[in-house]
Symmetry: C2
Subunit: 303 residues, 2 copies
């Protein structure tokens, strides 16, 4: 396998100004996997309940996602219920039913153990560490997290940070983690905590990457027709990992293209509910999207 | 003259996490003029009190800023007192002494009337209209404004909007003006109000321009060492106008370079109090700054 993604597979009930969906396919691993598989063979390491619809599992397999590390447990699948206000800038949680997620103990299958790139999506940092230990020789470990773990499990999170190569957070999360309000300073602080690289996702403002020396700033795709922002960050990270996994040499220019792929793919994610807009994604669709994006954000090389 | 800037010349008392300054040179016209003059001959249309230090007026003249449209009135110069908190994201006003600004009635001198580019900095929209009427044949009218005029003088502001070619606002202001939270949609709404182009200044996230058809997104220069954000927006607009005024053909690529100049110049403004960091600015300094910036934000032309 090229990429393994450790995270949640969920049934989400979501309301946005553009509509509502009940128990639709979601979860960080589902979004990240649907993005990564555009570029590289990808395995999902997750857990679902006995109620998880067969059609979703079949769908993953049809899309060449390896499901051999998805544990099925008695009980119900993780369920998140939330909504977005008019500006869609922030998710408001109504209800979180952890269900089988409470018993999640990641088991990386034989065929996923040799993954080159491991993406630790937003879960308990202790589980992230347990997952890392099961890979034979991961070349790149990428990590996401969120406010809850930063506020309530900071010690464990900092331990995991020492094991990862790339940390991906949004602007609020990195400010919370570092206690630094200036994003450029906050990125400096992160590379002192362990990761060699840090990427800050800034939603409508794009993303910025820092490797301890050089910054790369990448505007977002201008979008006026957001439908559902859920999964934007997860699919950003999935595309980043998937793109890297198919390259042999990881120089700065490849990392930058990986960030660009994250920006492009997440601009699709938000145009539909659930993984709807990720389904038809292919490299040729992205190539056209990049041409459009370059017309918006390409800079002249000289003055 | 190439550029005329209608706005305030002030004495500012400012406190930021990096220090404090008492009655230092400020005001929208001062900042915008110091940026514009790097590229084009520029006139300031403003008012000061009898207390305005000669050294500042001499300094403007030394920097080739035309001061023949600065009225000197009996009384005190406009004085703003404010501070910034740790994140420097927002100015907090402690005291505003309008002083001679209350009697401001812009008089554009003979030598400034033929200006090609007119920048209406943030003042009463009625005064903006009175200024416009005094130019013989302005080719481009650029306008800034702020929350106060949007909230309390919306009718007048909308009248002025019908006369201008380019509106420059920050993200909060455009949301307030249009009532639309999505920035891309809000820009659409602005071009329906009159201006052919709109530019949104997003501080640490850069700027985005829209001409009714095409977007141009431009990341900010990564900065960890802000000293005083005052005047960043004014110097952005001044650089934009000054750069345009020296070009004969205004196609999309020239407008984009003008935005880039705004982004670069404002990245200098915030590195010192008052106009300190604008003093040594020259085209060759900016050329080097652009090379550094391109290393951060240049995108590959193809995938």
């Amino acid at each position: 396998m090229s990429v393994a993604i450790i995270g949640t597979v969920a049934l989400d009930s979501i309301e946005t100004p553009k509509g509502a969906q009940f128990r639709t396919l979601g979860g960080s691993a589902a979004y990240a996997g649907m993005a990564s598989r555009v570029f590289s063979p990808t395995a999902l390491v997750s857990v679902v309940g006995a109620d998880f619809p067969d059609e979703h599992m079949t769908y993953f397999q049809e899309k060449q996602l390896d499901t051999s590390s998805i544990t099925v447990l008695p009980g119900e699948t993780f369920h998140w219920k939330g909504y977005y206000k008019q500006d869609m800038a922030q998710a408001f949680t109504v209800q979180t039913d952890l269900n089988v997620l409470m018993a999640f103990d990641p088991v990386v299958s034989e065929q996923a153990r040799d993954s080159r790139v491991v993406f630790l999506a937003n879960i308990d940092p202790v589980l992230q560490q347990k997952a890392i230990a099961q890979f034979s020789r991961p070349e790149l470990i990428v990590m996401d997290s969120m406010n809850y773990w930063i506020e309530s499990h900071l010690g464990n999170l900092k331990d995991t940070l020492k094991l990862v190569d790339v940390l991906i957070l949004n602007d609020q999360e990195i400010r919370l983690l570092t206690g630094v309000s200036n994003l450029i300073q906050a990125m400096n602080t992160v590379v002192e905590m362990g990761p060699k690289r840090v990427i800050v996702k800034k939603g409508e403002h794009g993303a910025i990457m820092f490797d301890g020396k050089t910054h790369f700033a990448c505007p977002a795709v201008p979008l006026s027709d957001l439908v559902d922002p859920t999964g934007a960050g997860d699919s950003f990270a999935g595309a980043f990992c998937g793109y890297l996994a198919r390259e042999t040499v990881w120089d700065e220019s490849v990392f930058r293209r990986a960030v660009l792929m994250g920006v492009l793919v997440s601009s699709f994610t938000v145009r539909d509910f659930s993984i709807g807009a990720l389904k038809p994604l292919s490299e040729s669709v992205l190539r056209q999207a990049y041409a459009d994006y370059y017309a918006v954000s390409g800079l002249p090389a000289h003055f």
